[in-house]
């Protein structure tokens, strides 16, 4: 046999810094009102991508922040809990961008309560907003890939891989996304589409992070790097995973965490 790999890696344009140049790539960011997502949108644009954005929620604050992230580009108000809403918005943004090459979902519908005080409505709302919303966004984006190799990325927080008191519901929803990533990576691999998660540790905007001074904050001293993530910290990884050069990375939950998930 003299033929090469049955599915060769992409012929990434020469002369570019492979993995960090997104010229000609079209990306949708769902949940763009979140601080981490806003930084990802900026980094994608800096790398040359055309970016369309949606919100994760349709409350006033979310829509105000969404407008800022959109920066005049393609934008749709979306409630990630509503699959039809996600589908229609994805179609519209895809039309505006001329197609979609990558989708990034930031499903951070936070919920904290002891289990005895968690209502049926909470279970529905939190599971659907985080896990169901990511599923719906991945489904809609995959339809827009139209058989071409795409990139699906979920941005999660560290409760997806570690347990914490009073976060059982949110943690279950977030960790469920990792199961989605693993299985969907297998399903879509033959098309060249990759599916990954970025797991972000404690950030400046994480609820309950405590004071910023190290000597006043036991949590801060628990993080090996002794600082919270800035919104921009996960952004370069999102750029790399959205690029054509990351085609051999799939099914992974990659941690940008200052080392907090690495120690005993």
């Amino acid at each position: 046999m003299s033929q090469q790999n049955p599915l060769p890696p992409p012929d990434v344009a020469k002369g570019k810094l492979q993995g960090f140049d997104l010229t000609g790539r079209r990306v949708i960011v769902y949940g763009a009102e979140k601080p981490v997502a806003g930084a990802i949108v900026e980094a994608l644009r800096e790398a040359g991508a055309a970016v369309g954005v949606t919100s994760a929620n349709t409350d006033g604050t979310s829509l105000f922040r969404l407008k800022k992230a959109a920066a005049g580009g393609a934008t749709e108000a979306v409630d990630l809990s509503n699959g039809t809403n996600v589908q229609v918005a994805t179609r519209k943004i895809s039309k505006a961008l001329g197609g979609v090459d990558a989708a990034i979902v930031v499903p951070q519908m936070y919920h904290t309560a002891p289990i005895r005080k968690t209502l049926d409505a909470d279970i529905q709302r939190v599971l659907i907003a985080n896990l169901g919303g990511t599923y719906a966004a991945f489904r809609s984006a995959t339809r827009e890939f139209r058989g071409r190799p795409g990139r699906l990325i979920a941005v999660l927080d560290a409760t997806a891989v570690r347990g914490m008191t009073n976060l059982s519901l949110y943690s279950a929803a977030q960790s469920g996304v990792i199961g989605l990533v693993r299985s969907l990576s297998q399903e879509l691999a033959p098309t060249g589409t990759t599916v990954n998660a970025i797991v972000v540790g404690w950030t400046d905007s994480t609820p309950g992070r405590g004071p910023s001074a190290e000597d006043e904050n036991l949590l801060l001293r628990f993080i090996p790097m002794r600082r919270f993530a800035k919104p921009a910290d996960p952004a370069p990884l999102a750029v790399y995973l959205a690029s054509e050069a990351s085609g051999y990375i799939t099914g992974q939950a990659i941690q940008v965490d200052g080392g907090v998930l690495k120690h005993l």
Partner: protein, 250 residues
């Protein structure tokens, strides 16, 4: 990895056991307008690693990133446990595990002496994370590399030294020309979810990401690049639970 790092603007010290293994890469780096320093080094010998670092400091004044990439399965890894000699065991661990420790230690000493931030990147293997009957010595050595990476990340974070690990699955080390080798690679690729083995250049952008400030908040990470192999593994690749057929028998 070296060529992508050079593309991104880095000067590269090329170390391998023999000069002939790295002379060509050094020429390519220089053709890109970057500096290359060839230092033949057996990284399983700590004194040679220390000498390589000393030569780098003497000629270039220092360095910011250490990539400990050495490794190899070796015949010892393919034996039944009852036939693995003490020397087989030690040699495989020296090449695959101790080498990473020697490189990390030499780099950490340099960063500490200069009181500057640093970056250490180790390289393990997917065999560190799943059992492989044929590669148990090699897998054990590479598992040590991952655990060492995590622990060193926590130890060195306060000194602003980051330590991360690249965990490749099946990745070709060179462009294949021999038809038998290509056939073997295709067969191997058919068992990997993305339907192909990785190509050497694909590790380059990942190395650039980890070596740069783009990954400033990442430490202790075992970054898997394996075409989806480790994300699956519950059934043969491609198995369809709807029909109960498909997949590739192993």
């Amino acid at each position: 990895m070296a060529l992508h790092l050079a593309d991104a603007g880095a000067d590269i010290v090329c170390a391998a056991r023999t000069r002939s293994q790295i002379a060509g890469v050094a020429e390519e780096i220089e053709a890109k307008g970057r500096r290359a320093l060839v230092v033949p080094t057996d990284v399983s010998d700590s004194s040679q690693v220390d000498a390589m670092v000393e030569q780098t400091i003497a000629e270039w004044g220092g360095f910011e990133v250490m990539i400990a990439n050495a490794g190899g399965g070796g015949a010892a890894s393919l034996k039944h446990i009852t036939e693995v000699s003490d020397d087989d065991w030690r040699n495989t661990l020296d090449l695959n595990f101790s080498s990473a420790f020697y490189c990390a230690r030499a780099a950490a000493r340099h960063f500490r002496q200069e009181s500057k931030p640093g970056n250490i990147i180790t390289v393990a293997s997917g065999t560190a994370l799943r059992g492989d009957a044929r590669l148990f010595v090699y897998g054990a050595a590479k598992a040590g590399v991952i655990t060492m990476t995590q622990a060193l990340a926590t130890q060195l974070a306060r000194e602003q030294i980051r330590v991360n690990c690249i965990v490749p699955g099946f990745v070709l080390q060179k462009t294949l020309e021999d038809p038998d080798e290509i056939a073997r690679a295709q067969n191997q690729g058919s068992r990997i979810p993305v339907g192909r083995v990785g190509e050497a250049w694909e590790l380059g952008p990942l190395a650039v990401y980890l070596a740069s400030d783009a990954s400033a908040y990442m430490t202790g990470e075992a970054f898997i690049i394996d075409g989806g192999g480790l994300a699956g593994g519950l059934a043969p690749t491609g198995w369809d639970v709807n029909s109960g057929i498909g997949g590739v028998a192993s």
